[in-house]
């Protein structure tokens, strides 16, 4: 104990409200410090003066009691049962119940926003209701010897070609940005092909994409090889993230990305389409003016041929825009158990294990940071609700 510490405790030493061990320490120190003895004498003087002041201080007026009784009126104290702490306690609600309720309420209220943030920020797999998707467009399926229920619905129902995303691609072209159609392929060795297919399907849904093709070659006999090839269509801006998530599903045996620049083709097709539509309009005018049957038939023939060209070109343009808006990824899956893999040496195995551990650590770190940011984002709401709960409690539940 030093002089400053003792000085801060002396008022309560004087009023004898300190615990015995603390009193003893102070008494020991007092015998060795003249400064502290002087401080104590000063406090005694101050205390005695205060006592004198209080002894002669004015008492409350005689009307004090009458005034209070008049203000409280004839009835009993006004209870607020729903905020009565005694009632709350009898119901088993503890002090932190209100705070917990505030936090839960915050997350319930803002769960939809939370889901949107998760979708926007990371590769977390969140099922998306079909109703939330854009108008479906039928997509071709190469081969599907075996179909899973969920995959089936995904393939047939939602190729997920969003009109909004297509218009974005068109805007991109008109804004002189490059219209790039990206295609990726990845080969994976996975512990279980069936469960990998399920995960890929969920991942595709969460990325607002669709499984557009599936070839699942289940083993005909026990111990046989199980392989599958899945073709995905995902929004172009999720291409990289999806490819990375897919790589995390197993051991990557191959990976490739190709990009085709469709800017000129789209611009050219748009120009030709405009010309053909003008030609169609002109032909319609000519047909209206022409009085001869032979001329009308001739114009009709030309009109039919122009319309056919318009439809073909329109389909081509849409297809190109679709390829720009949605990237295609082909995933080749092989069962780990039956995939012939060269036996790696101990060094390679340790290196692989280390890389896998790092990959897991990185994934966990990203997940942790994302969740922490989510909590930080909601912190103001939690703080406001907690403050409101505290103020309500302080105002209505008393301080006792």
């Amino acid at each position: 104990m030093n002089h400053a510490e003792l000085e801060s405790e002396l008022p309560w030493y004087l009023s004898a409200t300190l615990p015995a061990p603390q009193r003893e320490r102070i008494e020991t120190f007092l015998s060795t410090c003249n400064g502290c003895t002087g401080e104590l004498a000063e406090l005694r003087a101050l205390s005695a003066t205060f006592a004198e002041i209080e002894a002669s201080a004015a008492a409350p007026s005689s009307a004090f009691f009458e005034d209070v009784m008049r203000r409280i009126g004839p009835g009993a104290p006004a209870r607020k049962p729903w905020l009565d702490l005694a009632v709350l306690r009898s119901n088993g609600i503890k002090r932190w119940g209100a705070v917990a309720a505030a936090i839960v309420a915050t997350f319930v209220l803002f769960a939809p926003i939370s889901r949107e943030l998760q979708r926007a920020s990371g590769p977390d797999v969140v099922p998306v209701p079909l109703a939330e998707r854009a108008a479906p467009v039928q997509a071709p399926i190469a081969k599907r010897p075996v179909l899973f229920g969920a995959l089936n619905s995904s393939i047939s129902g939602t190729a997920a070609q969003s009109a909004g995303t297509e218009s974005k691609a068109a805007d991109a072209v008109s804004a002189t940005q490059r219209a790039l159609a990206r295609t990726g392929a990845i080969g994976l060795i996975v512990p279980d092909v069936a469960s990998a297919l399920e995960r890929i399907q969920r991942l595709t849904q969460s990325e607002f994409g669709a499984v557009t093709g599936l070839e699942d070659n289940a083993p005909a006999r026990a111990g046989g090889a199980h392989t599958a090839q899945v073709t995905l269509s995902v929004p172009d801006d999720r291409f990289g993230a999806t490819l990375e998530t897919l790589a995390g599903l197993g051991g990557v045996t191959s990976r490739s990305v190709t990009t085709e620049d469709l800017t000129d083709s789209i611009v050219d097709a748009d120009a030709r389409l405009r010309n053909l539509r003008h030609e169609e309009t002109d032909l319609l005018r000519i047909m209206d003016r022409s009085g001869k049957i032979a001329d009308v038939l001739d114009v009709e023939q030309q009109l039919a041929s122009t319309r056919e060209a318009i439809e073909q070109l329109d389909a081509q343009t849409k297809s190109m825009r679709r390829r720009v808006a949605y990237a295609t990824i082909t995933v080749d899956l092989s069962d780990e158990k039956t995939t012939p893999v060269a036996v790696a040496g101990p060094g390679t195995q340790i290196a692989d294990a280390w890389r896998a551990a790092l990959r897991t650590l990185w994934g966990f770190t990203i997940w942790l940071v994302a969740k922490s940011l989510l909590l930080v984002a909601f912190a103001p709401y939690v703080a406001v609700l907690a403050l409101a709960a505290y103020l309500i409690r302080r105002r209505f539940l008393g301080r006792g």
């Binding site: 309560w12 205060f50 004090f64 209070v68 104290p77 209505f396 539940l397 301080r399």
Partner: protein, 191 residues
């Protein structure tokens, strides 16, 4: 000084009866606390009119809040906690908070001896006058410590601040009082 435990038990019982609307119990409680409450708020607000108003508010609040007294603290701590906040409310209502609620300047670092002598040699009237010049929060903690003799934890509960802040506030309150006495002494010497 501090109420003993028996008194505390009796007061808890009175509060339970008040919660049930027993006016006789309220009168007993009122009589036990009227002077303590009045002196405390009077010390804080430094104005008889405001003190009467604040003390009246405190007792009405005791009546209204008795059903919500949870028993976590002593009745005296609870009542003086109400008194503390009512006195501050009263000061704010009177629009004097800007002048009265500020805390004193940080302590000076010069030798303490002249200041210490200032308290020991000051008369009662001088100390009373000096008390009027320091902030209500400082007057409150000095009153709770030296007049009512409350422990640190009880003062913390009454004024609604952490335990460490109580020590700091009492320390600064003493320094503010010393400074006020020294200033008053200097002025007297000049005049």
């Amino acid at each position: 000084m501090q109420p003993v435990d028996d008194e505390s038990g009796l007061e808890r019982s009175l509060l339970r009866r008040i919660a049930a609307g027993d006016r006789a119990a309220f009168e007993s409680f009122f009589r036990a606390y009227e002077r303590r409450v009045y002196r405390y708020v009077a010390r804080m607000v430094s104005d008889d009119g405001l003190a009467n108003e604040a003390a009246s508010d405190v007792m009405v609040e005791v009546w209204n809040s008795a059903p919500r007294y949870a028993g976590r603290s002593k009745p005296s701590t609870w009542v003086l906690g109400i008194a503390h906040h009512k006195a501050l409310d009263c000061l704010r209502r009177a629009r004097r908070d800007a002048a009265l609620l500020h805390l004193a300047e940080p302590p000076r670092t010069e030798s303490e001896d002249p200041e210490r002598r200032a308290i020991e040699s000051s008369t009662r009237a001088e100390i009373e006058a000096a008390l009027e010049t320091i902030s209500p929060e400082h007057r409150a903690v000095l009153h709770l410590t030296f007049v009512l003799g409350y422990a640190q934890a009880e003062i913390a509960a009454i004024v609604g601040c952490p335990l460490g802040t109580v020590k700091t506030r009492v320390y600064h309150a003493k320094r503010a009082l010393r400074n006020a006495l020294v200033s008053a002494g200097l002025q007297r010497e000049v005049s």
